[in-house]
Each structure stands twice: as structure tokens, then as C-alpha cells.
Amino acid sequence: MSSSEPTRARPAPASAPASPVRRVLAQSRFEARALLGRSEQVLLALVLPALALVLLSATDAVDLGLGGSRIDTIAPGVLALAVLATAFTAQAIMTAFDRRAGVLRLLATTPLGPGGLLGGSVGGVVVVQVVQTVLLGGLALGIGWRPAVVAIPAAILAGFLATATFTALALLLAGTLRAEAVLGVANLLFVLLAAGGAVLLPAANLPGPFAAIAPYLPTGALGEALRTSLATGAFPARDLAVLAVWAVLTSLATRRWFRWF
């Protein structure tokens, strides 16, 4: 038992937060390492898109009905698929399990706070996407892809808007459903959107009404924006507008329904 005298004297305050930028960078690095450190995420984010790239460009077995160079259509689709895998599926699953383990609650009591957590999540996704773009883009260039350099800013803008949309959707899912449900739904949506959302292949290849609907999905808009701009150098105005609307809508929904704790 203690016999120390009760004191009201404060300790010399030694506690101080790191600067906001350093905090968000630290969280981004931590999240990127967590994303890249899991074998199933690496499979989803790198191996799967790389396989799609190599197989679809090397074989004529699947008739895609593509005009022009196959690789010019396939490479942007593979990059879109990689964005979807990281910003949506991987992010949703990681956030859901962190939330269940109380990680978000604990981090909300550190200098990071909820705002820094959000910044760190986006930062982590961006870091992983840079790695994906360098590796997958490099592979595509090796296979013979020749993107229109003039269109790269528009492609980056499309990637940014899509990342905002997918991350918001991922957080919405992770912040409202149980972790196991998120695992199922995030993987299911990935497969459905990859196949029917005009990510990998142009919307025009889809059957019937899907061809008309897909360009207005965030996945389709991203895929079409990357294909249009990188293949022809044209500015994908309609696709960027669609993505911007999705980014605003999903961010508002996530703000409204997401619970950190």
C-alpha cells in the first residue's frame, strides 16, 4: 500500500504530439506495410492483375473483339483492377478487422485522432498504388504497351477520384458491418465488379444492358477513363464527371454512417 502524500502538483509536461504531417506519414507507412505484408493482399493487388495482364495479352484464345493493339486496352484495365483491389477490397477488410480489434478506438485516443486515421488510410492506399502502378505498368511496358504520355495527368486524376470513391465505400462497409460480413461482401463485390463492372475489359464487350449501365458505375468510369485517355490521348470528360459524382456521394454517405468505434 502506498503512503505517498497526495499532491496536486503537475509533472513537468513532457508530452507533445509529433507534427500533423509526420503523424499522417507515419500512419500511411504503417498501413502500407500492413497492406503489403499480407500474402492474400499481395495476391489480390499484384499477382492477380499481373496474371491477367500476361494471360490476356499473350493469348488469342479469348476473343475480346478489340480493335487496335490488345495491350493498349488490357494494360489500363489491369491498372484499374489494381486500384479496385487495394482501395476497396483490401482497405475494407483491413479496416473491418482493425475496428473489431479496437485498433481504431485506441488510435483515436493517440495524437493521431480520427482525422489522422483517415489521412493515414488514404496515404497507405496511395503508397500501395504507386508500388502497383510501377510494377504492373513496368510489366505492361515490357510487353509492348505504349500509353499516350499526354494523357497521364487525366489518368492520374481518374485514379485519384476512383481511389476516393472506393476508399469511402470500403470504410462505409467496414464501419457498418461485422468483420466476417465485410470479408465476404468485399471479395464478392470485387469479383462481380471485375467481371461485370467494365474494369478489366471495355463496357462495349459486356452483354446487353450491362454495356449501357457499366460506364456509369465507378468501376466502369475508371476503366473507360484509363482506356480512353491512355490509348488515344483524349480527355475522358464524361468518365471523370461520373467519378467525381460518385466520389462526392460516397464520401457523404461514409461521413453520415461510418462509426470509428
Binding site: P6, T7, A108, T110, P111
Partner: protein, 296 residues
């Protein structure tokens, strides 16, 4: 400092008009059975929950409105841990340290809490006690002025608990305010300068351990064949209760006179005493008296 705190979850009143204060350089233990409202109170203190009534002031600030200013100055250890399961123990600690401008050296905490053997192990694979030690290191790495620990030694082996207790005592002598919840009586007795007993969301007793256990002494006796407690109580002129089958507690100082009357009364009932123990009330006795003995 908490005054008149109220917290509801739907129709359930978790915290009902609760008030207490924790001082710098002191360890304040919030003691209470499961479901007493300890965790809810703590969550209001760290701004994770918004109180439905009353005032909460932490380091003279409002935990919800001034959350930003408070986060660096408080160190928190939550009951569910909150450590990233997929990461290595050492990476988690270094990461949290990097959120502060002048953190405690990580090596020092590793040394003090004996974390070295599992720094490269994934959090998922740590034992309960190892996780608790890591969570404590995470709570302390930012040199907090106020430390809030929700059941810090839950799941720890006796050696780990010693280490945690030593560290908490050290924080106190550095002038840090420590507030911990526990339902371990020996922990509160060993550490706490002030004890706040909480039940049904409100404070039912408070004081130092000495104050709470001061009152009359106790005599414990074991009579396997059973005793007529009512007859015994009237003979010795002190309350007698059966703490467990065959185990009795006489609430009175164990003076030679009381013991003589007591043993004579047992002789009159033909009851064989197999053990007899004279002592003071422990915090556990006080706690059970206050919160009841039945399971809930």
C-alpha cells in the same frame, strides 16, 4: 475530474450520476463488479463516448471538445487492447512512439516490461499477458501526464503483475495521475492511494484503502458441521454470517474476551472448530459487503 456523469445506452443507464476526482501523483482505483459502469466512465474520460449528462474535465479540458489537445497528454490502455493484430509487437510500439515529438525511448520500455523476447512476434500470436504488457508500453510511450488503464493486469501472470505495479508506482512518484479500473482487490490494495467503489453506475464508497478497511476487525472460523448463527450472534453480541458453507465471519475485533465467548458458545453448540483466524477486514470484504455476494 468527473461530476454527475450520466451515460445511457438506449434505455440502459450505464452511468448514473457518478462523481470522483483523480489527483496528480496519485493512483486512483475505480473498483467495481462487471457491468458497474467502469469502462463506460473511462471511455467518457478519453472522449470515445459523449456523456449524456454531467461534466467531465480532464486536465482542465473537455474530453470531447478539446480532444485534440488532450490526446498527446493522456496515455490510454483499453480493455480490448486495440493493438493491430497483423503487425509485429515491436512495429506497433515504434509506430505509436512516432506519433509523439519526444517519446520515451522504446528500448527503455522494452527493458522495463521485458518485451524483448516477443518484439518480432505478431500481435495475434502473443499471450494475454504479453499483449497487456505491450498495451501498457503503448500507453506510456508518449510521456503522458494522465494515464488511464482499464484492467491493466487482466490475464497477467504474477511476475508480470509485479512489473506493472512497480511501473505504476514509479509513474506516481513522477507526479503522473494514474486512474485504473480493476476488480482485483489485491491490486487496489497494493497500488491505490484512493479507491472509488462503483456499482450500478454510481459511487457507493470512496476513500483510501486504510479508510475503507479501518472499521472493526473480523474473526473467521471454520466449523464443518455447521453453526446456529443467530444463537451465536446473540451470545457474542456481534453480527455473524456464513461466508461459505461451514465458514463463518464474526464482525468484531478479535479481543481475548470475544474469543473466549465465541469458543464457549461453540462448545455449548457442540461445534468442532477446525480453524480460527483473527484479522482485519480486507478490501475484498468491504467490496463484497458493498456490492453483494450473489453472482449477476
Amino acid at each position: 475530474m468527473i461530476s454527475d456523469l450520466v451515460k445511457r445506452y438506449g434505455a440502459t443507464l450505464a452511468v448514473d450520476d457518478l462523481s470522483f476526482e483523480a489527483a496528480f501523483g496519485q493512483v486512483t482505483a475505480v473498483l467495481g463488479p462487471n457491468g458497474a459502469g467502469k469502462t463506460s466512465t473511462l471511455e467518457c474520460l478519453v472522449g470515445l463516448r459523449k456523456p449524456d449528462g454531467g461534466t467531465v474535465r480532464v486536465l482542465d479540458l473537455d474530453p470531447v471538445r478539446d480532444a485534440k489537445a488532450l490526446r498527446a497528454r493522456t496515455g490510454v490502455m483499453l480493455q480490448d487492447g486495440g493493438l493491430t493484430l497483423g503487425a509485429r509487437a515491436g512495429d506497433v510500439l515504434r509506430h505509436i512512439a512516432s506519433l509523439y515529438a519526444t517519446p520515451r525511448p522504446v528500448e527503455e520500455l522494452v527493458e522495463r516490461l521485458s518485451l524483448a523476447s516477443f518484439l518480432r512476434t505478431g500481435v495475434r500470436h502473443l499471450s494475454g499477458g504479453q499483449r497487456q504488457r505491450l498495451a501498457l508500453a503503448v500507453a506510456l510511450v508518449g510521456r503522458p501526464e494522465l494515464v488511464l488503464l482499464d484492467e491493466p493486469s487482466a490475464g497477467m501472470d504474477p511476475q508480470s503483475r509485479r512489473v506493472v505495479w512497480d511501473l505504476v508506482s514509479e509513474l506516481r512518484s513522477e507526479g503522473v495521475a494514474v486512474l485504473l479500473t480493476t476488480h482485483l482487490m489485491d491490486e487496489a490494495e497494493a497500488l491505490a492511494d484512493a479507491v472509488v467503489v462503483v456499482d450500478h453506475g454510481t459511487v457507493i464508497a470512496r476513500g483510501t484503502v486504510a479508510e475503507l478497511t479501518r472499521s472493526t476487525g473480523l474473526v473467521r472460523l471454520t466449523v464443518p458441521d455447521g453453526l446456529d448463527t443467530a444463537a451465536l450472534a446473540s451470545t457474542v453480541d456481534a453480527p455473524v454470517r456464513e461466508a461459505a458453507p461451514g465458514q463463518y465471519v464474526v464482525e468484531g475485533a478479535g479481543t481475548p474476551e470475544l474469543l473466549a465467548t465465541l469458543t464457549a458458545a461453540c462448545a455449548a453448540q457442540g461445534a468442532q472448530i477446525t480453524s480460527l483466524d483473527v484479522g482485519r477486514r480486507t478490501l475484498e470484504d468491504v467490496f463484497l459487503d458493498l456490492t453483494g455476494r450473489q453472482l449477476r
